[in-house]
């Protein structure tokens, strides 16, 4: 990796509300709502956008090359456009790609659009179709997996693990209840831990229905500009410091029982090392994590923050991941609340940027947010990790 050609700032964010069904909008109309909100947030017109980058999954809505149709709402008419997808990570990949396109010096302002309208397809059927048709498709159960739960339980025992996972889920729901755009806002209370453990239907092993992410409709737009343009156009641009993408080959390993290093851990180590951040838990002020289920979310805190042993469970048990905790996790409510898949990973970066700006509204955390982390998850255990900063000049900062 070389030196960044030029800095890139996030100058606009637009989101639709997220819901299980948007009967009143077709796909281009839903995209248009997010685009209009993004442009309004940036205070610019479509004429100032040089390039658009688009992403969602074709087989979820069964539309081939959907950007062709979505041009009716995306504003891409007459403009440059690219379309990049990487499964669940799509939205985060779009953020990385937009950063690259602006940093290249070729485009000054790039608009990224992530969306999904899962109501219009069969999501679990679509995800099952990602598996190899000869070897694994008859085993795949969409995104439903009990392995994260059994892994945590093996290590820390059933009672502590199940309580921590339900604690995680309720914390996420409490955050979601502060976010008017969130899809599922259930009003769960911490005194429901045991009753939910007993009553929520089991999907696979110890993965219960309440643990699992939503299936949502919605779109997210982010607008990126070169340092010069960002300073001219925005009062409070949020700067992209660095990002990393780490993929891994198909997760089913028939050759042995050795558990490979997670891509989350690999990505975090590489990213923090090259940016001189020895202790991410101390450095970051907020973390928006792509948490497809409460079990995965709980397990991955340790991977992303490079923690050891039961440090992640302690963070959960001590309330350190709540809105007013040491490192607020998913103030937006995260993916268990809202999951329009092609937009989901972009939402992580968008919500992290809103926290840096102080513009998250009801779910704004109270302390000053200078450094934010956002993650994407997709494919066969793939990771995208993005670092956002309030101020430029991080090269000079002593990260202690």
């Amino acid at each position: 990796m070389g030196k960044r050609n030029r800095n890139v700032g996030i100058i606009g964010i637009g989101q639709t509300e997220y819901s299980s069904h948007k009967e009143d909008q077709n796909q281009p109309e839903m995209v248009n709502q997010a685009v209009r909100r993004g442009l309004a947030d940036a205070g610019i017109g479509l004429d100032q956008v040089d390039c658009i980058i688009h992403g969602n999954m074709e087989l979820f809505e069964m539309v081939h090359q959907p950007d062709m149709w979505h041009v009716l709402g995306s504003g891409a008419y007459g403009k440059e456009q690219l379309r990049i997808t990487t499964g669940g990570t799509t939205g985060a990949t779009l953020v990385c790609a937009a950063d690259n396109l602006v940093a290249s010096g070729v485009y000054d302002v790039v608009m990224a659009i992530g969306l999904e309208k899962l109501q219009e397809g069969n999501t679990t059927g679509g995800i099952t179709n990602m598996a190899d048709p000869l070897w694994f498709r008859n085993l795949q159960t969409g995104a439903l997996s009990g392995t994260a739960a059994s892994k945590v339980i093996d290590e820390f025992g059933a009672d502590r693990s199940k309580r921590a996972a339900m604690n995680y889920r309720i914390t996420m729901d409490k955050h979601a209840c502060l976010n008017p755009r969130a899809h599922r806002r259930l009003g769960l209370e911490y005194d429901q831990i045991e009753s939910l453990m007993a009553s929520s239907p089991r999907l696979v092993g110890e993965l219960q229905l309440i643990h699992m992410c939503s299936q949502s409709d919605g779109a997210c737009v982010m607008i990126f500009a070169s340092e010069e343009k960002a300073k001219a156009l925005s009062d409070k641009p949020v700067w992209i410091r660095d990002h990393i993408t780490v993929h891994r080959e198909e997760s089913y390993n028939i050759y042995g029982l050795e558990v490979p290093e997670t891509t989350h851990h690999y990505a975090a180590q590489a990213l923090f090392k090259r940016n001189g951040i020895p202790n991410p838990l101390e450095y970051f002020d907020v973390f928006e994590m792509y948490d497809p289920s409460a079990w995965w979310g709980l397990d991955w805190i340790r991977e992303f923050l490079l923690l050891e042993d039961d440090e992640h469970l302690k963070l959960m048990e001590e309330g350190a991941l709540k809105m007013d905790g040491k490192l607020p996790l998913n103030p937006s409510g995260g993916v268990t609340a809202s999951n329009p898949i092609g937009a989901t990973a972009m939402l992580r970066a968008a919500e992290a940027a809103l926290q840096v700006r102080g513009d998250a509204g009801g779910h704004q955390i109270q302390k000053d947010v200078k450094h934010a982390l956002a993650s994407g998850f997709g494919g066969t255990m793939w990771t995208v990790l993005i670092m956002l900063e309030k101020e430029l000049g991080w090269q000079e900062v002593d990260h202690g």
Partner: protein, 380 residues
């Protein structure tokens, strides 16, 4: 813009049905070919950290079509981003990634097996909205036929001229070891081939093909580590037209003209007629060759047929690969076009090598009747 190097290209021979090899095997052949040419690896410090792939969920009938190829493109514990659009855009994006400073060497690879679906028209029918276009049966073939009819009306393109495009394509395709439909055909055969979708006849339409291709791109600073004679990406541009056919001027080249203008401007080309030595364009259907040549600014609007008669394609070395008409799959046709242009600029095109090629223009389109266009400028 600063230039970016293409250090090596690899093409899988296109066939109508590569039933004996899965796309993973085809991609592995491509990767090994490029590694043999350049010696590049995936070393954590100095190797490739990011791979840009091209494939399509609908053509592969797999959600996240890139998830089955991680190992054979070298992305195990590395980055991989899928261009879910026509393949030429992967070169645009990979070049921008290198210019950004985030990457200095990027491997680009793509695959498409049109043989896997019962009909590629079933795939492209899904590109039409579920309310109006799809139930009417629109797909890229019959929409192209509407464009062909409009272009015939506008330009006076004759059946004989359309046939000549195919005859010339086959004449060159015979010499290209990567082409699919290589048999020579006569004008009369083309004009008498079965009418598929009026006015398009069977031989006017690119044959169903399977294929895969790969590229190694590097920054100017690192290019010489991998090759002695890099070819340079000096400009690119893209453009989107509107969606509903009634909202578009099907023969006006709105998107191609803008894409070409952007590419020429970035490459510092003021007059393409003077600067361009070679053109590789995505002629899925015979009438598109003169139409796209108009859009690229090599002849005036509506003058494509006269330009053909005046040996314009010979003068500008148009599609010496044989082009799409000798068989490359949709989605990665642009990668084959670019690979051919790179070989020509390196002087490695073998039996179909042109003389004195310094500047090449590569064009691809996607969407019905060229809704979206990409133009790349390559220089020796």
């Amino acid at each position: 813009m600063k230039r970016v190097a293409i250090c090596a290209v690899a093409q899988h021979r296109c066939e109508t049905d590569i039933w004996y090899k899965r796309f993973q095997g085809m991609l592995l052949d491509i990767l090994e070919d490029i590694q043999l040419q350049t010696g590049f690896d995936f070393n954590e410090e100095t190797g490739v950290h990011n791979i840009v792939t091209v494939s399509d969920d609908v053509f592969d009938a797999r959600t996240i079509s890139d998830n089955g190829i991680t190992d054979v493109v070298g992305a195990h514990y590395r980055g991989e981003e899928k261009m879910a659009q026509e393949g030429l855009n992967a070169l645009v994006y990979a070049a921008a990634s290198i210019l950004s400073g985030h990457d200095d060497v990027v491997y680009v690879t793509g695959h498409c097996k049109e043989s896997q679906s019962e009909s590629r028209n079933v795939c492209t029918n899904l590109a039409y909205d579920p309310f109006y276009g799809r139930p009417m049966g629109l797909d890229y073939l019959n929409v192209a036929a509407l464009q062909a009819r409009a272009y015939v009306e506008k330009s006076g393109l004759t059946p004989r001229q359309m046939a000549e495009v195919v005859v010339r394509a086959r004449r060159w395709g015979v010499r290209n070891p990567y082409a699919n439909a290589t048999g020579q055909v006569e004008e009369g055969e083309v004009m008498a081939s079965p009418l598929v979708c009026d006015p398009l006849r069977k031989l006017h339409i690119y044959p169903v093909s399977d294929g895969a291709a790969g590229f190694l791109l590097a920054s100017e600073e690192r290019a010489r580590e991998f090759t002695d004679d890099p070819v340079w990406i000096t400009g690119f541009g893209t453009c989107m037209d509107s969606y509903f056919l009634g909202d578009r001027d099907l023969t006006g080249n709105f998107a191609l003209k803008k894409a070409a203008h952007r590419a020429y401007k970035r490459a510092g080309i003021e007059d393409p007629k003077q600067s361009v030595d070679l053109v590789e364009l995505t002629d899925c259907y015979a009438y598109q060759q003169p139409l796209w040549l108009e859009g690229l600014g090599l002849c005036a609007d509506g003058e494509g047929p006269a330009f053909m008669d005046a040996a314009g394609p010979a003068r500008y070395n148009v599609n010496l690969s044989g082009g799409m008409l000798t068989g490359n799959p949709l989605m990665i046709g642009g990668l084959y076009r670019a690979a051919e242009a790179v070989l020509q600029l390196k002087g490695e095109a073998g039996e179909h090598q042109a003389d004195h090629v310094k500047t090449a223009v590569v064009q691809s389109s996607t969407g019905g009747a060229g809704q979206f266009h990409t133009v790349l400028v390559l220089e020796a």
